[in-house]
């Protein structure tokens, strides 16, 4: 198996007022292509921070070890490559869905594709993009909700839209931060089934959860305690 993501002794410290709060104290993790890894740990252990560093949403401390994607160091990325990485190479799913309330379900699902699209390409690719987003939403069971706004959806439906949005650009890795944390067991189960289907199709996934039952669905579990991987 090829290693796709790697964090090597990464450190991250947040400054709260005048106090430095170390969150990651040299955490290391590797994720192979096609693998489904669950990062588990108690609240405040640093698992979400590690996910943000893997996804290029945040940068580690200056004295930290590197984060690599397919052998490339994220730290060496310029602004353009970093944006491209977040847009094309990874897809994010958050606990609170984070859909844009002004956009419809279809538009929310298309958002990452729109971000990477020029006006000219929008004119030429619009129909194909709409079709792809609609198909993706159909596989998520939302074909009847395309024109609805997020406020009109249930929690489970919103998370399905978020998953469709994360997958629209066919990323190599999906990063999910407590994807079922805001859902009941039944709905959460449905979401995990949907993710499992994607994994079965070959998608690499890193999922943060504090729920052992959810973590059990992953192939491998990595536990973080006090900012270090056990």
């Amino acid at each position: 198996m090829t290693m796709l993501l790697e964090a090597e002794h990464v450190k991250k410290t947040y400054r709260l007022g005048r106090v430095d709060v170390p969150v990651l104290r040299g955490a290391s993790i590797t994720v192979d292509e096609g693998e489904w890894v669950a990062i588990v740990g108690s609240s405040g252990s640093g698992k979400s921070t590690l996910l943000h560093l893997l996804g290029g949403l945040d940068r580690p401390d200056a004295d930290s070890g590197p984060v690599r994607f397919a052998g490339e160091e994220l730290n060496r990325f310029g602004a353009r490559r970093e944006n491209l990485y977040r847009n094309r190479d990874v897809g994010f799913v958050f606990q609170f869905y984070h859909l844009l309330p002004e956009l419809t379900v279809l538009e929310n699902a298309m958002l990452p594709a729109l971000v990477g699209l020029s006006r000219v390409r929008w004119i030429s690719d619009r129909a194909a993009l709409r079709k792809r987003a609609a198909e993706l939403l159909e596989t998520c069971g939302l074909s009847h909700r395309l024109g609805h706004r997020p406020a009109e959806l249930s929690g489970g439906e919103r998370q399905r839209v978020a998953i469709a949005r994360a997958l629209i650009n066919k990323p190599r890795v999906l990063l999910a931060d407590e994807p079922t944390g805001n859902l009941d067991i039944h709905t959460g189960g449905g979401i995990l089934d949907l993710l499992a289907e994607r994994h079965a199709e070959g998608l690499t996934m890193v999922m943060v959860t504090h729920d052992a039952a959810v973590a059990a669905r992953a192939q491998r579990r990595v536990r973080i305690v006090d900012g270090r991987v056990e």
């Binding site: 977040r86 094309r88 958002l111 971000v115």
Partner: protein, 555 residues
């Protein structure tokens, strides 16, 4: 491609951008309305100033220009000139007798124009400036029922054009503001009040042939004063140029009369060294009559500056031709001693301050742009604050800082365009109906409107009570303010008996200028757009700097 989509959605799916749009629209409309009225006022002043002077004025004060008839022929031969008219300009004393005895005597220092009515009519539409004349049917229909001009007795066009009475006595036309008993009403019409001690039917000065005495003092070429000359005149009409300074100071008499009183008429020239057999100085020729001023009208499509240059050329040719003719006893003044100006140059002392006043207003009201930028900034700051999470999502899915910046700049641009366009439309609507609005303010509110206002007040009060019962602070505050505002409006309407903001007796023009200054409209619109974008740029930069991790934690 996401930037226009989000900018459009933010604009159309929320209320707060409409507040920004309304703020921009009101700012833009305010500037356009004020500057348009000022520009219209300036244009009215300019148009009034131009009245009576034509496009170009040739002037040689006091001693005048001999052979002016030849000069007029030379000028009228120009392809740029349509007509020219001679004038004799001077100052004099006008004695007006209102009542009996010295107590009814009024003496005014006046500017006296000796004119040729027919040629002045061709140059400056003189006949249309005569106030006591038969109005057009359309104008007649719009007149107040008690407007004296409704009475054919007051239609004295012919006397004004003759500058004489029907039986041939010398006549005089007064500026309409000279007589202190002329009263300009709110409708812009003049009526005559009674002078103390005057007979009941006395009507000063029109139309009952009021007598006045004009005193002029001729000045010789050497600069010495001749003996004063007094003459009785009958007031045959009054004129209204539209410019207060002219209407309150100028009187018109016929050119030959003015020439004769000022000794500018044709007269024999005598030798100082030769005498005839009776011992009197020998007559050696005739000194020609003179005019101090010639006003020239341009042909359609010829601008005054072009005409002025052509007239300067014509005067140079005229001067050369007359000077070379040794049979003529006198030479016209050198071209450098004759002033040849466009009407604007001649009136620059008067028009300049009004123009400066307009620019001052434009500059002062430009502060509104800063208010506009400030409002957009404050509203956008709050929008960015509220949209922090959205910005984090966009950054998480790969949007660049520039992309986020552009969303809010585009949003500001949209608000600027929509707000400014609405502002222009609003200003146009106000300007187009400004006189109707003014009339509405000038009349008492109708009964139904007063009742409707109180009904609306009661309705709002009911909604305030409902808000209180439902414990909704927002409804109580909103409807409470609405009730208070509507109660004030209702009370004002109850008391309102009509007031005039634009009093024609003060501003001299009977109508408020009601044409939109499109140049100002476009520049203000552009300013509104630019300052909206400037206002949006700071919150936009803040949005671009948003840390995605922090903003996504914001839940």
């Amino acid at each position: 491609m996401y930037a226009p989509l989000l900018a459009n959605r933010y604009l159309t799916s929320r209320i707060i951008p409409f507040i920004a749009v309304a703020a921009v629209a009101l700012c833009v409309a305010l500037v356009i309305v004020v500057v348009s009225v000022m520009s219209g006022f300036l244009e009215m002043v300019r148009a009034s100033g131009k009245t009576m002077t034509g496009d170009v004025v040739i002037s040689r004060p006091i001693t005048g220009m001999p052979y002016y008839q030849e000069l007029i022929k030379e000028i009228e031969a120009l392809p740029e000139a349509a007509a020219a008219s001679p004038i004799v300009e001077t100052f004099g004393l006008l004695q007006m007798q209102y009542g009996t005895g010295d107590g009814g005597k009024q003496i005014e220092m006046v500017e006296v124009w000796g004119i040729d009515p027919a040629s002045l009519d061709r140059v400056a539409d003189y006949s249309r400036k005569l106030y006591w004349s038969k109005p057009a049917d359309a104008a007649l229909a719009a007149m107040s029922p008690d407007d004296p001009l409704r009475n054919p007795f007051y239609h004295r066009d012919a006397d004004g054009m003759r500058l004489a009475t029907a039986d041939g006595r010398p006549g005089l036309v007064l500026g309409i503001e000279i007589s202190p008993f002329n009263r300009r009403g709110r409708d812009g019409a003049y009526r005559t009040s009674q002078a103390p001690g005057a007979p009941q039917d006395a009507d000063y000065f029109m139309p009952n042939a009021g007598k006045v005495i004009l005193t002029l003092v001729p000045v010789s070429e050497g600069g010495s004063l001749g003996g004063e000359r007094k003459r009785d005149f009958t007031v045959v009409n009054e004129f209204q140029s539209g410019l207060f300074q002219i209407d309150a100071n100028r009187i018109l008499v016929s050119l030959p009369v003015a020439q004769e009183m000022l000794r500018l008429d044709a007269a024999p020239m005598v030798s100082r060294t030769e005498f005839d057999e009776d011992g009197r100085p020998k007559v050696i020729g005739e000194s020609p009559s003179r005019a101090t001023t010639i006003v020239v009208r341009a042909r359609p499509g010829v601008d005054p500056v072009t005409l002025r240059d052509a007239v300067r050329g014509a005067y140079a040719r005229f001067h050369e031709r007359i000077s070379l003719d040794k049979t003529l006893p006198v030479n016209p003044p050198f071209p450098d001693l004759v002033s040849i100006e466009t009407w604007e140059e001649r009136l620059s002392d008067f028009i300049g301050p009004v123009e400066k006043e307009r620019e001052l207003m434009r500059t002062l009201f430009s502060i509104v742009y800063i208010v506009c930028a400030g409002l957009v900034l404050a509203i956008f700051w709050s929008i960015v604050q509220e949209k922090t999470r959205d910005i984090g999502i966009l950054r998480a899915v790969g949007a660049s800082r520039t992309g986020v910046l552009w969303i809010f700049l585009r949003y500001g641009l949209l608000i600027g365009i929509v707000g400014s366009a609405i502002g222009v439309l609003l200003a146009w609507a106000i300007i187009a109906r400004i006189n109707d609005i003014h009339t509405l303010l000038g009349t008492a509110a109708p009964g139904w409107l007063r009742v409707a206002a109180w009904v609306a007040t009661a309705g709002m009060l009911a909604l305030t009570v409902r808000g209180t019962l439902r414990a909704s602070a927002l409804h109580v505050v909103l409807w409470g303010f609405g009730t208070a505002a509507m109660a004030v409006v209702s009370a004002v309407l109850l008391q309102h008996e009509g007031f005039l903001v634009w009093d024609p007796s003060v501003y001299y023009f009977s109508r408020i200028p009601d044409s939109l200054d499109w140049h100002t409209a476009w520049t203000t619109m552009a300013g509104g757009i630019v300052f909206s974008v400037i206002g949006a740029s700071i919150p936009a930069a803040r949005a671009a700097d948003t840390d995605p991790v922090k903003s996504l934690r914001y839940e």
